[in-house]
Amino acid sequence: MRARLLTTLVVVLILAAPGCARASIGWFELDRTSNTSSTLRWKYALDNDMVYTGASWRAGTGSTTACNQIGRGWLPVGWYDTWGHWNNYDGLIKGRVFYLQDKRCGDGTLRTELFIHSEETASNGQYCPTSGDDPYCWEGWTDYYSNGCIKLAHANAGFPDAIGEAHWEWHNRFGSPAHGSYGLYHRLYVG
């Protein structure tokens, strides 16, 4: 808690410093506490004035706390740039996604191919053809597990529309209005 307050204070002080351009910016902040029940918050700073916290959501990352386990460890700490946001991404993961930069763990292991995403179809729906775990269907809490990415719930099976709300914050609270591939500075902090 103390570290979080200090972080916020530092951002406020720097933004208020003479010479800093007046502009607003928003970013995600992940408080890494467990693989299936961490917290992702939206934060934004208004015209060099104050840092506000928007909505927050339960989020998953990895299935072990060994950051350096490729394909299973949770996300490394630090600031991330993003290289794009899509509403209808249609790859191995689908739907509303945010593409993150590579990041090294404490021993130097590189984590790559990282996203913020959910389990939904490219058209932001649900495809649940079996009684088991379907990759584009949010069935339950085990869907918070990931290979390392940050996962948010899709509104299904009693879970909130976290990916929809995160998407709204991104577009409406100073993330970016754009879609597709483009670089943005400092859009995620993992602590």
């Binding site: 693989n35 386990q69 299973r72 930069q101 021993d107 290979n147």
Partner: protein, 406 residues
């Protein structure tokens, strides 16, 4: 090339730097978080036991590598520090040949500094900037000769007959915002000719040989691991999407694989030649309530299999058409928050060696430790310890069959 649309760069950069510096001082907070995250009580199944790590130390049963030094049954100084940031422990960072006389190791030359606490943009790193170059080096433990095996390459798998498989990058440099794609190539001996076995460049890792079949990972979006079997140039089979390699059987005819993504997962025994499932164990089910997942880089001797799991080190017995859990051995999660990983059988299967990372507490930063454990007594002895950046690892060859040391 499209440039980043940086905004507020100087101000936010300074803010971020100070914020990270302030947070960096909160080691106690980090330790508390890690302890909380790992605070799940150990399995209370009858098969479970907690490993007691004794203060005494022991000599390593084989070879280990740390930084640019090899220790254990031989001692050597390498020309570069051994590490494999693009591989982690999907494959060993240093692998001996079947006779144990030579070692191939991964090296990583940073071309510019990259502070993991700061974002690339904040550090002025632009898309396409070269950040590092991986290479594979060959060290002869008898003569001390240390030579470059391949530049712009990583992850070596050494076959019994001396053939070496590895990933050769399309671009030698690892670059910001570029997937480091490469080809799986097989060289018929360290000084032989390269033959490309993959059909398209992708993000591969050469994991191990099972007989004459190369087992390799393809890392896909979101770090999903696909397990591939390559029987020759262009002869590629998908053994499983979202699947990891636990171990190769001693004769190289079977492999143990596990779900890399789905939880609860399934542990399966596959026939390498056909890809058929010979046995399966549904994890997190009434059949085997714990563990719920099994990790990669385990070890298989005779009919015994050891692997990392969410409930500690899991020992399984494999028979013709069945695989069963026989023991779960957990390390103290307060002391070792992520448990033990990369377990290897030693002394003909009577013991195993395992790597773990200690918790970071004030005055004692996290360290990598290697342990040798006796499953019957549920005790471990410390073999070595080093800072995480030293890449302290066992030197081993996961390919099977092997003639000599492995």
């Amino acid at each position: 090339m499209r440039r980043f649309a940086w905004r507020l760069t100087p101000c936010l950069g300074l803010a971020a730097l100070l914020a990270v510096a302030l947070r960096g001082g909160g080691a106690a907070d980090d330790a508390e978080r890690l302890a909380r995250a790992g605070a799940t009580p150990p399995a209370h199944a009858a098969l479970g036991a907690q490993l007691h790590v004794a203060a005494r130390s022991a000599d390593p049963p084989g070879l280990l590598v740390s930084g640019a030094e090899i220790r254990g049954r031989a001692h050597a100084t390498l020309s570069a520090e051994a590490s494999s940031p693009l591989v982690g422990w999907l494959a060993p960072s240093a692998v001996p040949d079947a006779g144990g006389r030579r070692v191939i190791y991964g090296a990583w030359r940073e071309l510019r500094a990259d502070d993991p606490g700061r974002s690339w943009g904040e550090q002025g790193i632009e898309p396409g900037d070269a950040l590092a170059r991986p290479s594979l080096r060959l060290h002869d433990l008898t003569t001390g000769a240390d030579t470059l095996l391949a530049d712009g390459a990583y992850s070596a798998a050494w076959r019994r007959d001396g053939a070496v498989a590895f990933v050769r990058g399309v671009d030698r440099e690892y670059r910001a915002w570029r997937r480091y794609v490469g080809d799986l190539v097989v060289r018929d001996g360290p000084r032989g000719r390269d033959v490309r076995w993959s059909d398209t460049a992708d993000r591969y890792v050469a994991a191990a040989w099972a007989g004459d079949t190369l087992l390799a990972y393809r890392i896909r979006t979101g770090e999903q691991l696909d397990l591939l079997a390559l029987d020759g140039p262009g002869r590629i089979r998908l053994l499983g999407a979202g699947t990891s390699l636990v171990a190769v059987s001693p004769d190289g005819r079977r492999i143990a694989v596990a779900d890399a993504t789905a939880i609860p997962g399934v542990l399966r025994i596959l026939d390498v030649a056909e890809g058929n499932e010979l046995a399966r164990l549904a994890l997190g089910s009434p059949e085997s309530e714990v563990p719920t997942w099994v990790g990669y880089a385990g070890s298989w001797v005779d009919d015994s299999l050891v692997a990392e799991s969410d409930e500690g080190l899991a020992l399984f017995r494999v028979s013709g058409n069945s695989v069963a859990l026989v023991r779960l051995l957990g390390l103290d999660r307060d002391a070792y928050p992520s448990g033990g990983v990369e377990p290897r059988f030693a002394q003909s299967g009577e013991r195993f060696v395992v790597r773990a990372e200690t918790a970071s507490v004030p005055g004692h930063p996290a360290a990598t430790v290697l342990l040798e454990c006796d499953p019957a007594a549920a005790t471990c002895a410390s073999l070595a310890s080093a800072a995480p950046r030293a890449w302290l690892r066992f030197v081993y060859n996961p390919s099977r069959p092997l003639g000599g040391a492995g």
